[in-house]
Point group: C2
Chain length 338, copies 2
DNA sequence: CTGTTAGCGCGTTCAT
DNA sequence: ATGAACGCGCTAACAG
């Protein structure tokens, strides 16, 4: 590896001068600058970020910790984050927690050891609190994505979950549905809680009694075993005419289960959910969804994070909270009941 | 930041002993080991990867350079790569080239400066050659994904593009289609070339003359302006009854264009393509596709890369080439012509 | 079993 | 405008 010393020697200057040329700091005569530049090219010099980071005490690395890059929502979040990170000169590491607190813990350790300058986290849920406290204790700035964690103030980018759930339920009732079920994520996840709340409020406003049997609280993550969903479906009587899913994964799994049981969607059961399902929706729009602005989650979150990193010394900057609107896209997965 | 010196002082040993405890190297008495461990916990010590990397001359970072994480194919590649990287103790950086040679060049510089231990690249095409040569010159091991680059030997993971194209065309002919068009990526991309070849061979075997007007070679990337596709569609006469798309993006764009022009798919025009479209296909399968094993591209590619990194000194290890099978999934986007 | 020395590549500080 | 000395946090090599 060629270092600044190599090029210093060959250019007949000191390493410090080379460093100055590279970073455009201090005053340097055009002559030496050009000379140094020429030698750098000649020797194919590439700066060493690790050495630089070590002395500067900053890595220019951000970490994106999401539950699963494979979920189209997070895919797009990642794209937004990478674009913004690149724009500000940061590199982006990422990891998938799979909604597992333990895996999340592992990544937190990695993040600390990496000396990432900041973190974007979609926390697995309220149980992430200790992890966030660890980050805080080590003074690593972070921005929460999609989920808040009680007991931890921070910058955060959220979707309007409550409003989204209301819109979904209202849409269903306006199509004549009254028996509306909800399959949701864990109540330990703030966005799931808000979606349940929105669902309950909308029912009330539509004079529909709340029935606990119509609600299943389970994991937002894909599962191999659908039996929990199956038995829930069987348990409800009378069966619902419509199901609200707390996210896209649950929608897919409910529909698969319904299909396996011979139900047709939407003819026999309507289904709506949060989060879109990627490019397919452009050509064969099926699911009626709350299409959250995933790209903005990542892009704006990264902006906030970078701001926070750079104004780090300014103590007491108030925490910022961005709530992105919940826009509904009506498609074909809801039938009308007369 | 607490360093090994802090904990050395507090534990009454030398920094070297602490280092030994951390890395489990050398022989250390249980007593000192425990003492050191206790102090480490007490002080919330976290190792500094950057310092470690600097002296060890290895970063434990891999870089995944793809065209667009938003493309469900690459999304899944990324998931496979991250899983494998994590398994081997590597962290994973990623970047999107958007099929742009310039952006790719930028990332190559980043990769070098980062001192990434290895790179997974889906090169933008044959013009990536200089970039790969740069990596090679700097002795950075890399594995090519999905695309080969003439003039550069290396490890590579490919799909069986030729066979895939044949299958697609054969399927169409078996449904009675004879006027089969192809919308493909740039001929500067090896997989696009092979798909064209497979298409031509299959036509020949089916006694269908090749017609250059039925082929459009354009970018694999999403575009805002569909006019190129529109005019191609208008140009073909008689119009094709079926279209093979070189990837999922092109399939989506062709279908959108067809819809905009009032054509129905598959009633008036059938469409098939390479690469699946994400989770949607599970619930509302529409497009007939060659579903490449995206996860394996990432997972196996990373395995190969790690092997190459670790056996780095063993010169002359032959380049490995993995060709993953092209499995067709028949769905609803092809109509039968009597 | 444990400590000392030196250096990984770079930038800050203080001279000149 | 340029250079020398030092340290960022860690480990390899050697010494004891």
């Amino acid at each position: 590896m060629v270092t600044i010393y190599d090029i210093a020697a060959k250019a007949g200057v000191s390493a410090m001068t080379v460093s100055r040329v590279i970073n455009n700091t201090g005053k340097i005569s055009d002559k030496t600058r050009n000379k140094v530049r020429r030698v750098m090219e000649e020797l194919n010099y590439v700066p060493n970020h690790m050495a630089r980071s070590l002395v500067l005490q900053q890595s220019n690395v951000l970490f994106l910790l999401i539950t699963d890059i494979t979920n189209p929502f997070y895919t797009t979040v990642a794209r937004g984050a990478e674009d913004a990170a690149r724009k500000h000169g940061y590199r982006l590491l990422f990891g998938n927690s799979d909604e597992s607190v333990e895996k999340e813990k592992d990544y937190i350790d990695t993040i600390l050891a990496t000396r990432a300058d900041g973190v974007l986290v979609a926390p697995t849920g309220d149980l992430s609190l200790p992890h966030l406290e660890t980050l805080r204790r080590h003074r690593v700035p972070f921005v929460l994505l999609d989920r808040e964690v009680p007991g931890m103030d921070s910058d955060v980018v959220l979707g309007d979950s409550k409003e989204g759930a209301r819109k979904l339920v209202d849409h269903l009732t306006s199509c004549g549905h009254r028996r509306i079920a909800l399959i949701n994520g864990s109540p330990l996840i703030s966005s799931a809680r808000l979606r349940l709340e929105g669902y309950r409020e909308a029912l009330k406003l539509n004079d529909i009694p709340f029935d606990q049997n119509y609600v299943l609280e389970t994991a937002f993550e894909p599962r191999s075993d659908l039996s929990e969903i199956e038995s829930w479906l069987d348990r409800m009587s009378p069966p619902p005419t419509a199901i609200v899913a707390g996210n896209n994964v649950l929608a897919v799994e409910v529909i698969r289960t319904l299909h396996a049981r011979g139900f047709r969607v939407p003819e026999q059961v309507s289904v709506v959910c949060f989060d879109d399902l990627g490019p397919y929706s452009e050509i064969d729009p099926f699911l009626t969804v709350i299409a959250q602005q995933a790209y903005q989650f990542g892009y704006l979150g990264t902006q906030m994070l970078v701001d926070r990193i750079q104004e780090r010394d300014v103590t007491g900057l108030p925490w910022k909270k961005i709530v992105l609107p919940a826009d509904m896209i009506v498609r074909r997965s809801v039938s009308t009941i007369k």
